[in-house]
């Protein structure tokens, strides 16, 4: 499970209000949400992002509200993965539950600049910065979460056990 894309890099504490502002929460439709993703922090994001691209953030990515619209919006823009130093806990759950791949790796975040070409391997947790020719290893997921990810979300995982 490898993926390659260009990086959009942001700072610490990227909150759910900038990922998808509340004024657009009047629709749960992923395509609709994707149109406004990151708008309040980077107006150009939705025009520039291409399928497979990667978002990189600092500490506490996704802090704030519990809106699952945030990982849903990111995924619907075509972003393949979010790499951050740490994730806010509700965003972390929501990403796993909705099947948005995320990776925690402070070293990679420090070593990746905006616009770099990066390849990630979700299976092994390897992050390869092609532009700079550097490699990083993300924390592996606990087995239980890996099962949810492999089932492509919590709902499918539960269906199997009901």
């Amino acid at each position: 499970m490898k993926n390659r894309g260009r990086v959009f890099k942001y700072g610490d504490n990227v909150d759910t209000d900038v990922i998808i502002p509340a004024r657009y929460l009047n629709s749960p439709d992923p395509e609709e949400l994707a149109k406004y993703c990151m708008r309040d922090i980077d107006e150009d994001f939705v025009n520039k992002v291409k399928s497979g691209d990667i978002i990189v953030g600092g500490y506490n990515f996704g802090c704030g509200s519990s809106r699952e619209h945030a990982p849903i919006a990111i995924r619907a823009t075509g972003v393949s993965c979010v790499i951050a130093k740490t994730f806010a806990r509700i965003f972390y759950r929501n990403a796993i539950n909705t099947g948005l791949p995320i990776m925690e790796c402070p070293e990679a975040v420090d070593g990746i600049d905006n616009g770099d070409e990066v390849e990630v391997d979700f299976k092994t947790g390897e992050i390869f910065n092609i532009t700079k020719n550097t490699k990083y290893q993300a924390q592996p997921f606990p087995k239980f979460m890996e099962e949810i990810i492999l089932a492509e979300g919590l709902v499918n995982h539960i269906k199997k056990s009901i």
Partner: protein
């Protein structure tokens, strides 16, 4: 090695003798909550799971509060979807406009959470009920769907930070100042993935409303939950509002904490969080000449009776400053009615304030008081992120009801001690 309060509650709900920080468990739920923004997404997921009914009709609560009374056609459609689901599944605790309030004010008031419970809600401020000595935490819509279907939720058992509160706060210092002080001290990710446990004999000086405010903002420090030890005040509250059975948990003597902070409440000053993060705090003594356009008093953080009473005390017989718009929104219908009976609403209106029906409204930039580019607000809400209350170029300063009211009278951020 002993367990924290949170760990004991989680162990009991997972049917385990003992749990440790980091352990993954599945816990039985006493309450699953959702609102008009998160429930529609949960309904879609619930339908995929292929179960007919929710696990327990009395243990699911749905409160349309974010965009209600419906602000436009799209939100009306969302609420219709939620209403139909609630009817079809015979959800006992569905609260329509007229009976509703902001969820985190309403749920304790309706007695739906009691000490020792495990509650999850598809809203990040579900951590509010920790004030009652319950474990409660925010989750997403998919977790809500799974919770409604199975009555269970997976958790990673959190480690904890202990806050030992001592001393008595001074006159104009409230729960809001205490929690802003704490967030300023540990940062917006200072309690990431962790429980914040509040103990110590300073707690006796905090009303239940103060405790709700403090637990409410645990999430603003990144916390999984905030939880208070149970005392007589808690039990009085529970007896007044609920007939549910409760269990009191206390932390073990030898419970392990990542950190312990001792905080003397008598030294805390009125505190304000500057844009654009709740940890960007200053004491009122460090604030100079910040002119404001709007004041918002209310929300699930500070829309309770204590909050309205303090504000009314300051507004009584006075008028808001020229050029400042002031909006008060009580947290529930019951709070609204009581405020009316006590004459607080009259004081507000005579001061030149608008009083809104209970709704999340301006708190999340939904409706009822959105900010324009370059405008500044003092709000008793809990988040001051970029664009939270409207235009990305607007600014939100978080403060207590007392500071907000004093500021409304002068048109700039003001220490209540200076005018009272």
């Amino acid at each position: 090695m002993g367990m924290t309060m949170t760990q004991k509650i989680l162990a009991a709900h997972a049917g385990l003798e003992k749990v440790e920080a980091g352990q993954l468990i599945e816990a039985n739920l006493d309450l699953v909550l959702g609102n008009d923004v998160t429930t529609p997404v949960a309904i879609n997921e619930f339908e995929k799971i292929n179960v007919k009914d929710v696990f327990d009709k009395s243990k699911v609560a749905i409160v349309p509060d974010h965009f209600t009374p419906n602000k436009d056609i799209k939100t009306a459609q969302l609420c219709k979807m939620v209403r139909e689901f609630a009817n079809e599944k015979e959800i006992e605790n569905y609260f329509e406009v007229g009976q509703m309030g902001i969820e985190h004010g309403l749920i304790p008031e309706k007695g739906l959470v009691v000490p020792g419970d495990v509650a999850i809600g598809a809203d990040s401020h579900t951590c509010t009920y920790g004030a009652l000595g319950a474990f409660s935490t925010g989750i997403g819509s998919t977790d809500m769907a799974a919770g409604m279907a199975t009555g269970k939720c997976w958790f990673k058992v959190p480690s904890a930070i202990k806050f030992v509160l001592t001393g008595k706060p001074t006159k104009w210092v409230s729960g809001k100042d205490i929690i802003l002080h704490i967030i300023g001290m540990i940062g917006v990710d200072g309690a990431l993935y962790k429980s914040m446990e509040f103990v110590g004999d300073g707690i006796q000086h905090l009303s239940m409303d103060d405790r709700f405010t403090i637990a409410n903002m645990a999430i603003e420090a990144g916390g999984k939950n905030g939880i208070f030890i149970v005392d007589d005040k808690t039990l009085d509250y529970v007896k007044e509002h609920s007939t549910k059975e409760y269990t009191i948990y206390t932390p073990d003597e030898d419970a392990v904490y990542d950190e312990v902070y001792e905080i003397d409440l008598s030294t805390i000053r009125p505190t304000v969080a500057f844009p654009h993060l709740p940890d960007n705090t200053r004491t009122i003594d460090e604030v100079r000449d910040i002119k404001i356009d709007q004041v918002v008093i209310g929300s699930c953080t500070n829309g309770r009776l204590d909050d309205l009473r303090v504000a009314a005390k300051i507004f009584k017989g006075r008028k808001v400053a020229k050029g400042v718009r002031v909006i008060v929104f009580p947290v529930t219908q019951k709070t609204y009615l009581q405020a009316l009976r006590e004459g607080l609403i009259e004081i507000f209106i005579e001061a030149g304030i608008v009083v809104s029906t209970p709704t999340c409204g301006p708190c999340l930039g939904g409706h009822m008081g959105i900010l324009a580019d370059g405008e500044r607000a003092v709000a008793t809400t809990n988040r001051n992120f970029v664009g939270r209350m409207g235009h990305p170029g607007s600014e939100v300063y978080l403060a207590s009801p007392a500071v907000a009211a004093a500021s409304a009278l002068t048109g700039k951020i003001t220490n209540p001690e200076d005018i009272m």
